[in-house]
């Protein structure tokens, strides 16, 4: 006790600060960093969850490098990212831009856009899965058939399946992005627009010279946020293709689904952990790029 009493006020502040910091530090240490470290460790081992772990060295990574399924899955993951992010960014900006100008039933329409974001992804995936079925049950194909148009294979196809799975994922995230964009639009001081209008500038110039540049932080946030979301896409894909997880010939399989499959169907924990480390690295790189972009502001 005397030890504490002898401290200066400044030192006491530090002790208290650390006492409070200890809780989140412990939480992160035990709940986040310890399992992460263990996962990295397991990626260098062979383990089937039942027996003992044995050292495998770099074998899991070598296997991953030579696994054609992994490269297919890798391409799919980036296809989700490279299609999903720009499409959702453009769509949400267009919706937010027009919704911002709209006064009539503004709150109600905004709620409609936000609703899918609050809906359970599992329930939504199953409803869309039904939409996509062939005749006689699928909604879209029944509509096509009633016009005498040949049905389209949405999910049972190697080319259509990925966009078909991506569409509800984009739609679900749209509401959130619209809200963020609207907040960004509202934060732009109206004096800029007034000044522009006094100078007699057209709407296109206002959009490209004032609105979009001032929305840059908002856009960086949305891009990063949705990128991480698309890189980790799982529940939509898994639920829309439960019978054949990852679609026909792995057409829709993202990295997370491959990890799940390797770990909990194959019980090959070492290999799954190696895949996890790769995913972690990708996410880390994306996050570092984000920090870079934000700092340049």
């Amino acid at each position: 006790m005397t030890l504490y009493r002898d401290l200066t006020i400044r030192q006491k502040h530090i002790v208290w600060a650390w006492a409070f910091l200890a809780i989140p530090a412990l939480f992160y240490g035990i709940i986040r960093f310890y399992p992460t470290g263990t996962a990295v460790l397991i990626s260098f081992q062979n383990w089937n969850l039942l027996g003992s772990r044995t050292w495998a060295g770099l074998e899991n990574y070598r296997e991953l490098w030579n696994d054609p399924v992994f490269w297919k899955v890798f391409r799919n993951t980036f296809a989700y990212l490279l299609i999903g992010t720009p499409v959702s960014l453009v769509l949400s900006f267009i919706i937010a831009y027009h919704l911002d100008k709209l006064r009539f039933m503004h709150g109600f329409i905004r709620m409609l856009y936000f609703l899918p974001f609050m809906t359970s992804a599992v329930a939504m995936a199953w409803v869309w899965r039904w939409f996509y079925q062939g005749v006689p049950i699928g909604l879209f194909n029944n509509i096509l058939a009633s016009f005498g148009i040949a049905q389209i294979e949405f999910l049972n196809s190697t080319t259509n399946a990925l966009p078909a799975v991506l569409a509800p994922a984009v739609w679900a995230g749209l509401g959130f992005q619209v809200i963020i964009f609207m907040a960004g639009l509202r934060a732009i001081p109206t004096s800029y627009y007034e000044a522009a209008r006094i100078d007699g500038v057209g709407w296109w110039t206002i959009l490209t010279q004032i609105t979009l540049p001032l929305l840059k932080p908002t856009m960086v946030f949305i891009v990063v946020f949705s990128s991480i979301g698309f890189l980790r896409i799982f529940d939509h894909v898994f639920n829309m293709t439960t019978n054949n997880p990852g679609g026909p010939l792995n057409a829709t399989k993202p990295l997370v689904l491959m990890i799940y499959d390797t770990a909990f169907n194959g019980f090959n924990m070492g290999y799954a952990a190696a895949q996890t480390v790769v995913l972690f690295t990708i996410l880390l790189i994306v996050s570092l790029i984000q920090l870079r972009l934000l700092r340049s502001e």
Binding site: L50, N156, N243, L249, F267
Partner: protein
């Protein structure tokens, strides 16, 4: 009054004594299985019967959703938290033996020679060395379900008995709309359901092949017989156009909805079909091959004693194992769950073997094969991809089956290396 007080006091004392020495007096063993209404109910009945016979043993049953079951069991037993008697899929046995999580059944109580005499032959896969490691209460096999209402409508009076008849009947049952889309299939198809078993153990053998050699460690269907089998299977959709892969999402869904004339499925489907309103169905043995060969696939869940059970818990677990593999238990399992008895002495009784619903499955057991899977979902995926390559990419049967054989062989090699 005095007597009653005295007996009450004695009762009180004994119960205190029991509490203090509970380990000596009453043994509690823990039993785990996955959650499926009828299975839980059947096991409750079995436990009740067992406890009545063995008042000094209590059995505590714990169950989990199927999706989590394998992971939970795998995590709990090594941690010493798990059950004394556990239900496992037959295909998992190797892993559990190797990891020393289960112990062999004592040969004096379960003599291997007697087991081989009493049980259906596929149970032999549970023997390793001089001991059996696990035993089933019930087994499953495949059969051909058919929709009697659609049969009547199409004027078909009897279910098909061989593959040629199967195609002919299926053609009569198929319906197409104006745009050429199937609205009703003659027979369901999809490797994601039970068809991969039908292909491996039935069609390949019926075309004269042998799907695996070397105790299921070497893939052997990449030959003429395999190609014929695959051509027949994919031909149902491509050539005869009596089905489509993925029609109505799942084969069993199409059959339940009355949109499929025939459907190959396991005995475990009986219970859920019984609950479908307006569906009238019958069941028959799987169709015979071109030369009359019959085959079937059978699988089963087994009960095993874990290494956690020691001392008197072990003795109690052995007694419990004896009880759940008794004839009486098998009959209860058949009546409550609809799964087939693992012993011919129960299954082949006149009442069971000629039963309208269970009969075809039980008769199928006599010529059934059991695939020894290393990783069932990965091996199934090879079959699913094999059909997808032909269905979507138009690959030839020869190329597709060669790729599937290579894919599955890799799974087997990785496992047995």
């Amino acid at each position: 009054m005095k007597y009653r007080l005295k007996s009450l006091a004695i009762a009180g004392l004994t119960s205190v004594a029991t509490l203090l020495s509970s380990a000596v007096q009453a043994v509690e063993i823990e039993y785990w299985q996955y959650f499926f209404d009828a299975r839980v109910e059947a096991m409750e009945q079995l436990i009740e019967g067992f406890e009545a016979e063995n008042p000094d043993i209590t059995v505590k049953m714990t169950h989990f959703p199927y999706a989590d079951y394998r992971t939970k069991v795998a995590a709990a037993i090594p941690a010493g938290e798990g059950p004394d008697v556990v239900q496992l899929f037959y295909g998992w046995l190797n892993d559990y033996v190797e990891a020393e999580l289960i112990q062999p059944l004592p040969a004096d109580v379960f003599p291997p020679a007697k087991i081989e005499e009493d049980f259906f032959p596929m149970v032999g896969a549970m023997r390793e060395g001089d001991n059996y490691w696990a035993l089933p209460t019930a087994v499953r096999s495949l059969a051909l379900f058919y929709n009697t209402r659609l049969f009547d409508e199409a004027g078909v009076d009897a279910p098909p008995t061989n593959l040629d008849e199967l195609v002919e009947v299926a053609k009569k049952l198929t319906k197409v709309d104006g745009a050429g889309n199937l609205t009703q299939v003659g027979i369901t198809a999809g490797m994601t359901a039970q068809d991969h078993h039908w292909f491996r153990e039935v069609l390949v053998r019926q075309m004269g092949g042998d799907p695996y050699t070397d105790d299921y460690r070497t893939v052997n269907y990449n030959d003429e017989a395999g190609q014929k089998a695959l051509d027949f299977y994919v031909g149902l959709a491509k050539q005869h156009k009596v089905t489509a892969f993925g029609f109505m999402d799942e084969p069993q869904a199409a059959f339940k909805a009355g949109r499929a004339g025939m459907h190959i499925d396991g005995s475990f489907r009986i219970g859920s079909l019984n609950g479908v309103r307006g569906l009238k169905w019958g069941v028959t043995e799987l169709p015979a091959g071109p030369d009359g060969t019959r085959s079937n696939y059978s699988s089963y869940w087994v009960n095993a004693i874990t290494t956690k059970a020691e001392g008197e818990r072990y003795d109690a677990a052995v007694k419990f194992m004896q009880y759940v593999t008794s004839d009486e238990a098998m009959q209860i399992w058949l009546d409550v769950v609809g799964e087939l008895p693992a012993k011919p002495s129960v299954g082949m009784t006149d009442a069971n073997a000629n039963n309208e619903v269970f009969g075809p499955f039980i008769r199928g057991l006599a010529y059934a094969n059991t695939t020894k899977f290393a990783n069932e979902s990965a091996q199934r995926q090879a079959m699913v991809d094999m059909v997808s390559r032909m269905d979507i990419e138009g690959q030839s049967a020869a190329d597709s089956i060669a790729a599937a054989a290579a894919e599955e062989q890799k799974v087997l090699d990785d496992y047995y290396k």
